[in-house]
Symmetry: C2
Subunit: 307 residues, 2 copies
Amino acid sequence: MSGIQVLLVAGTHGNEINAPWLFEQWKQKDSLINTHNINIQTVIGNPVALEQGKRYVDRDLNRSFRKDLLLSSDLNAAEHFRALELVSEYGPNGNNPCQIAIDFHSTTSSMGSSLVVYGRRPADLAIVSLIQNHLGLPIYLHEGDNAQSGFLVESWPCGFVVEVGPVPQGLLHFQIINQTLLTLDSCLKEISNVINSKTVYPEQLIVHRHLKNIDFPRDSSGVPSSLVHKDIQGRDWYPIKNGHPLFESLSGDLTLLLEGGLEEEFVPVFINEAAYAEKNIAMSLTKKEMWDVQKDWINDLSKLLNP
Amino acid sequence: MSGIQVLLVAGTHGNEINAPWLFEQWKQKDSLINTHNINIQTVIGNPVALEQGKRYVDRDLNRSFRKDLLLSSDLNAAEHFRALELVSEYGPNGNNPCQIAIDFHSTTSSMGSSLVVYGRRPADLAIVSLIQNHLGLPIYLHEGDNAQSGFLVESWPCGFVVEVGPVPQGLLHFQIINQTLLTLDSCLKEISNVINSKTVYPEQLIVHRHLKNIDFPRDSSGVPSSLVHKDIQGRDWYPIKNGHPLFESLSGDLTLLLEGGLEEEFVPVFINEAAYAEKNIAMSLTKKEMWDVQKDWINDLSKLLNP
């Protein structure tokens, strides 16, 4: 075995209970998941919130890893302490150092099995290109969104989120578990291939690049005055064009997409994710792009995993 | 207008946010809902829990209306006080008395639009027979379940629950809102017909009579060891027979329905409702029955609404 360790995180949000359940089953039965001969650390991100069945205690753990906050002496939220704890235990310079972090989430949106990367770190892009090449799943590239920062995986040299949905919060679902299991297996297999220099990279990576968040239309007291339109509800990853209905009020007032030219396509993701309403996000708009897989991505990942 | 008042309750569970949103829209625009010339009182069942986005504060409000508890001097849960408050304000002998209570819920189960009645109170059976005759929706008759008691509507002389799903908790959904709106309209229309002696009762009422709750298979520490089988997930109201798979473990172990003869049909409801896991209910089993509409049902409802 190489000295590389992979950190697998579940329950970063305490009401996303499928991955934590899967990890628990795995603990009881080693053979459930093929580790592809990789050293693994598994951890529950927010065990207190999981116990209480809620997303978080004081604040969203997956927005609590901002470096300036972690270095501050003025922490008070439970999730800031938990973030520090996770980094000092499993961070690249921690007691039990891991080089890659994979954070398993679920969503009420119809995201299927998908990956999320933050920014354009070369090693992230390299590893997700391998997983996409294997499973064909879509990748949401989250960047340039100052209101949303401090994601867990950003505290590791390489890392990404697995999002599986749709599933309500607090509900175990056989299909969601199986999708999570399949994606986890592919992640470990591809990491193992990199460690063993058996990779075949694709020529291109398909990303859905974050453009902007779209909020519900709201009345003067902040309550949504329109709801996600039925022609877009559940249609994550389906391209839409200028003029497509986004929201509809009970009186039939439509809010349309007013973006781009007549033929330009945009791809909405995280449509009506329950947890994002408090963040004023009814959906996010992305642009589908094909990127050539770059040598420096491959080199960065290779250097990290074959030091 | 007659002196009859109908109490419409939303947000009895604080994370079922669709009906509360609909009531809020209604407040802003009177014409949204046709009251069919009935006196209406609307109220948010559990406003504190709604504000906090959770099902309840201390205990399930919709299990907090047990008469012995409400008469006890030893109350301590927030929901017991709220139950007392609702009854003393809107109860049949309250400051602002209502004769019928309709309690609007949503569920993560695929219940469609459906009604729930508790026990076999004649006036309840009469009114739901009229609504079923109008909309064709299924009715779950909950009875003989000692572990589940103290439902809100039982504190009124007549009352029932409207359940609409599937929808995750904490998520506004256009279709769920529209289903709620349509059912609400039918409820008010039929009550108005009774008040105005314009009813045409059907000959029969179709009920799905509660037989038993079925829990997840659990390991020694109480964690579910199997999940709802994919052939039954989302299949509320579809009949199943002896031998039908109910649960499946990750190792492929099946738990089958072992009930009744080879040809006997049972109908599962509230399959994988997120909030029921803590109540050890993975689904409830019912029996579909056709009951003749009885004269005493009609008389009881008529006496209540035309005193």
